[in-house]
């Protein structure tokens, strides 16, 4: 019993765990916030992964060329948009099944990133933590929250921006209507598929930016490796489901999953290594099992829209 208690307290009191957790959670959040908007519009993008990979690789290459973090981040976001555009136009203009397109894009972009890496190698900087004075001295969570490299801080304005976009603008109202009742939106004069495409582009920008932040702003990563994204895309989707398609829930979901990734990496508790490695994915499965029944799912989620096919 005391072993469990000790382990528990170890786990909760490790500063390294919190640092790690925030790192994972923030990257997840970049993707998840974007996908939240896209899912509120009724689209389900399993190619979220590829948006991140595209962003990560291009940001690293851009950094190698210009040695400027802001420029590299911008490139990452831009390439994220480009990849998202492929998903958006193939699925919501040509109406090819969005799962098929998503799957294919994941393979395509990963292959491209690996292939092009042989010619234009990705370079990453050694990230410097930006320590906010005083606050970063708070025990346990200080370094985690206030001692991260500055690109990580970009998530802070992104979350309220997404909220404002969806609930305080006309665009957001149309996005929500398109996700819940595209037929009604259509007869009201809203261009359903155009809005859906725009939502996907937003997700692409956020995820691409997240990929860039991953390679440019994470302490302890020795250079770029394409495999680093490692299914964060699908986990981000699980976070949105966990959050019941609300923004607050999505962010909490990212923290939860971030914790499990950190836990897995720290290997604090002596459990079977394979179980350890699969832990976040098992948790994701369990989470979707518990929360997928929620009724707040956008009613037209993952249903393609064609006028005339009521």
């Amino acid at each position: 019993m005391s072993i469990v208690a000790n382990t528990f307290s170890d786990v909760l009191s490790s500063e390294a765990i919190y640092q790690s957790m925030i790192r994972f959670a923030v990257i997840l959040a970049f993707a998840a916030v974007g996908e939240w908007v896209a899912e509120r519009a009724g689209t389900l993008n399993i190619s979220l992964e590829s948006f991140m990979i595209g962003g990560a690789y291009s940001a690293a290459v851009a950094y190698g060329v210009w040695h400027s973090i802001p420029a590299a981040l911008a490139v990452g976001a831009l390439i994220g948009i480009v990849v998202a555009a492929v998903q958006a136009w193939l699925s919501h203009w040509l109406t090819i099944d969005q799962f098929v397109v998503g799957l294919t894009l994941n393979i395509l972009v990963l292959g491209l990133a690996l292939f092009l890496d042989t010619r234009w190698a990705a370079k990453t900087p050694v990230p410097k933590p930006t320590q906010i004075p005083l606050l970063h001295r708070i025990p346990l969570v200080g370094e985690a929250l206030f001692g991260q490299p500055w690109p990580m801080l970009l998530i802070i304005p992104l979350i309220p921006l997404a909220w404002w976009l969806l609930f305080r603008t006309r665009w957001g109202l149309e996005i929500r209507s398109v996700g819940d009742n595209p037929q009604a939106a259509d007869v009201s004069g809203i261009h359903v598929n155009k809005r859906r495409r725009q939502a996907i582009l937003f997700a692409g920008a956020c995820a691409g930016l997240g990929g860039g932040v991953l390679v440019l702003g994470q302490v302890g990563i020795n250079g770029y490796e394409a495999g680093h994204i490692g299914l964060k895309g699908i986990i981000a989707i699980a976070a949105v489901i966990f959050g019941g398609w609300t923004l607050r829930g999505t962010v909490i979901g990212c923290l939860v999953f971030g914790y499990f990734f950190a836990f897995q990496q720290a290997k604090l508790v002596d459990i079977n290594p394979q179980l350890n490695a699969s832990l976040p994915y098992i948790v994701a499965l369990a989470v979707t099992a518990i929360f997928a029944r929620r009724t707040r799912q956008p009613r037209a989620l993952a249903q393609p829209f064609i006028r005339g096919l009521t």
Binding site: R168, R170, L173, S177, D180, A184, A185, V187, S188, G189
Partner: protein, 542 residues
Amino acid sequence: MPDRLDRPSGEGLAPSPGTNNTAVATVELRGVTKRYGSVTACQDVDLTIWPGQIHGILGENGAGKSTLMKMLIGLVRPDHGSILLHGSPRRIHDPQTAADLGIGMVHQHFSLVDTLTVWENVLLGDHHRFDRAAARRQVAETGERYGLQVDPDRVVGDLSAGLRQRVELIKCLRRDPSILILDEPTSVLTPAESEDLFTTLRTVVVGEGRAVALVSHKLAEILHATDEVTIMRQGRVVEHRATAGATAADLAAQMVGRIVSLRDTAAALGATGYTTSRGHRLTEPATDEVLRVEGVTVVRHGVAVLDDLSLTVRAGEIVGVAGVEGNGQRELGDVLSSLVHLDRGRVTVDGVVAHPGRAGDMAKLGVAVIPEDRHDSGCVLTMSVAENLLLDRIGSVCRAGFVRRAELRRRANELIAEFEIYGAGPDAPFSSLSGGNQQKVVLARELSHSPKVLVAAQPTRGLDVGAIEYMSARLRAAAASGIAVLLISTELEEIIDLSDRIVVMSRGTVIGELDRAEATPERLGLLLGGVADETSKLAGGR
């Protein structure tokens, strides 16, 4: 112009008194034509709608009225012809353009988003600044002005059909349209609510010089509420006259293209006052109860969509379930189709308890269903006609698990002949059949294995007069042969015409029961209306 009857000279073409004699028509359609492949939806349509009038567009289902309206609001583009608004020709690309040009449409089903509030729905599709306070204010003001009060902060999904239509109207009116189009607006309303609607329309038209186009297949409505009427048949305009002085018989003849006995077709034509005097049955229905629904409750998302519902149907009788749409009829159909679990209560067929959540259980017990939406649970669109005819009996044309195509075709042809299904043959895709013939396929399949109970949910919705007559005759024949028939319909005339006994359904439960002898449209209307008024008061109207 071919095929058009002589227009009464001058009558019906002048603007109504009170408007300027040189007024320009609000909307004018000239020679408008639309074809879908080999099917002509509209042929050479001329139509003029003047301001200050309610203009009725009358025609049976399939006559082309809906397509015409779709062209006016930009969902469909005409192949030939022109549309003039206030005298100038316009191209209407999409609903947004239509709205900008002053054309507003009150939709039946597809225009409000249930998860959003009233004010959000009203703002939907607009161009202007997104301003919550202004929107709420507009909802209140417009509501006051036209007698369409509704609470702007309520979520639309919680509102009754009548209140939702108010939101639709407000959504249109606030854009200051020159013409308001309503497509079959009263199918979701009680008679009392319909009256309110017509009063509102009159206000809109008279005081403010707008025009209203009222599309309907119901004679009573057209006679009652419109100033002028244009009658369409098979895609063409066949008459255009003032409503005053028209009789139901005249209009019916034009609508259907032949002299009709109103007595026989009143239900199909939506004519009231003709259906009460039917002859007595020749044989009394047997007194054995076949279908018994006891205290059935179904809860969805926390709301009891069926609430302690009980009814019985005896062999050989037709029980009509009347009620405004959205009061649980769909769920009742689902229960009897083995699609929904019961939370409470039970259903027995011929004494055997059924398990409606178990696949095919009701069918196994002999309950045949013509569902409300055949595309939803009545057929498989991508399969052929033959496959749809034998959907539930595919095993009977199989040997050792393999389908014998020749046998399948043979059986299908038998059914096609017996039920007079017109189409391109048993191997044609089901989707190539017309609505009426698709319904016949469903009927043929369901009746082909001598069921004990036949549930017909909105069986004649969207069908033309000929198909309606056919379906009604079949339902009567089914009852005469001893089947217990449960007819669920929102069309009062149809209920009165066909039923031996009528139950009225509201909010998931039965609130009244009448024998046919006692049932008049007025009485039924009161029953429906009385409850509905109460609920609309409670639902947040001011």
